[in-house]
Symmetry: C2
Subunit: 214 residues, 2 copies
DNA sequence: CCAACTAGTGGATGCTGTCCACATTTTAGT
DNA sequence: ACTAAAATGTGGACAGCATCCACTAGTTGG
């Protein structure tokens, strides 16, 4: 009953171009938010968009391709939150104290996203075979998590907090530490820990990373 | 044609007690090994055991409970490999150099398991809601990963390598770092990295953890 | 203005998890 | 030892899922 078209005429192709594809990704994002990657079920997404299951196959080769699009969107969401967290820190570029705070902000944003949006976080890292990490530096897109981390570490090096020697490749152990904590406390064996313990672990981890920045 | 029972008599309940349950877990373990937690499909497991799908429901409330059993088995496998890795290191308890080597062996075993058995590794950490971490210290079971890590860190503290102050709670950041690396390079965005880069990352991470052990 | 293309529909297939009713074997109580 | 009860497996069914094929109505480029 969406319009009073003469009976018998089916409503087709009346949506603006690309609306279905975008709608499917948006629907998938909601499903992922509520239940993680496994909850991104094609037939449910098309139901939300108000279209027949097969319509999805005009935009995605299969469910995995839809999931890949949803995953990329979730990753962009994470990147946006990280960028927002960093932007909130005041202080000129190159100021050692400010640079340290920015590194902390990145990690905190990462962990907060994982805790507040476990479904999206899991989905962002559930790339369904193939579909490599989207190339960064696109048009106006937020930088990907790793790039943002690199930028802050470069600043720490410029500020003299981190020697060039130690700077080299340190983004990986740091990313691993934060990501590992997010995964273990989010979906792993350390989930359902009281909030107090959680934030204690965060402090411990922050101090741990601090050791390596001499 | 497993036996020449008179025709018409169906073969039922002739397996030794508990054989079906054990077989289902074993079958699920193979499925998990090949394709991770999502590949643990009930109907396929019962097919391997040679029994009708419903028989599984005499032993597990639903697929998730089967998956939980498989996950626990995978975790035990990981623990066993870690224990084997540690046991291979010679040196008396309390010897600083030996203690360090044991810590390294634990981490290496963890990462090696994740790399060699990605399906089992993912399954070990894919606990399907509820079903808390199996209580440790069972009868003759290997200690769980966290317990093994704690034991080695305690040894490092006893050996004077790690001050009591730094020892407190450090198992979590260390576990996070190693687990994060395993996840990122195994199933995450850093997968399909060349082996050389992989081992470089491992060295970087090892050095990174070393910083915190002063 | 028409032909080719795009994006939707309808219907079908095989797989999955799960439920109910039933049969048989094993165990336990007397 | 005999029987009642509990365990364990079977058969058949259902709904939901991803996906395929054939078809059609709008859209668009020549």
């Amino acid at each position: 009953m969406t319009s009073d078209r003469p009976a018998g005429e089916t409503a087709r192709a009346r949506r603006p171009r690309g609306a279905v594809r975008g709608g499917l990704v948006a629907a998938g994002l909601e499903l992922a938010r509520a239940g993680g990657p496994d909850a991104v079920v094609l037939r449910e997404a098309v139901r939300m968009v108000g279209v027949v299951p097969n319509a999805a196959y005009r935009h995605f080769a299969d469910r995995d391709e839809l999931l890949a699009a949803v995953s990329a969107a979730a990753m962009r969401e994470l990147a946006a939150r990280m960028a927002a967290g960093v932007a909130r820190v005041r202080g000129k570029y190159g100021d050692p104290a400010a640079a340290r705070r920015r590194l902390g902000a990145i990690g905190r944003a990462y962990l907060q996203f994982a805790a507040e949006e476990p479904g999206l976080f899991a989905t962002a890292f559930a790339l369904p075979r193939q579909h490599a990490y989207q190339a960064p530096g696109g048009t106006g897109q937020d930088l990907l998590p790793l790039d943002q981390l690199r930028a802050v570490l470069d600043e720490l090096a410029d500020a003299g907090v981190l020697s060039r020697q130690r700077r080299a490749g340190i983004e990986y152990p740091i990313w691993s530490t934060v990501h590992g904590l997010a995964v273990l406390t989010g979906q792993g064996p350390l989930r359902d820990l009281p909030d107090a313990t959680r934030s204690h672990l965060e402090k411990l981890t922050s101090a741990f990373i601090g050791e390596a920045l001499t």
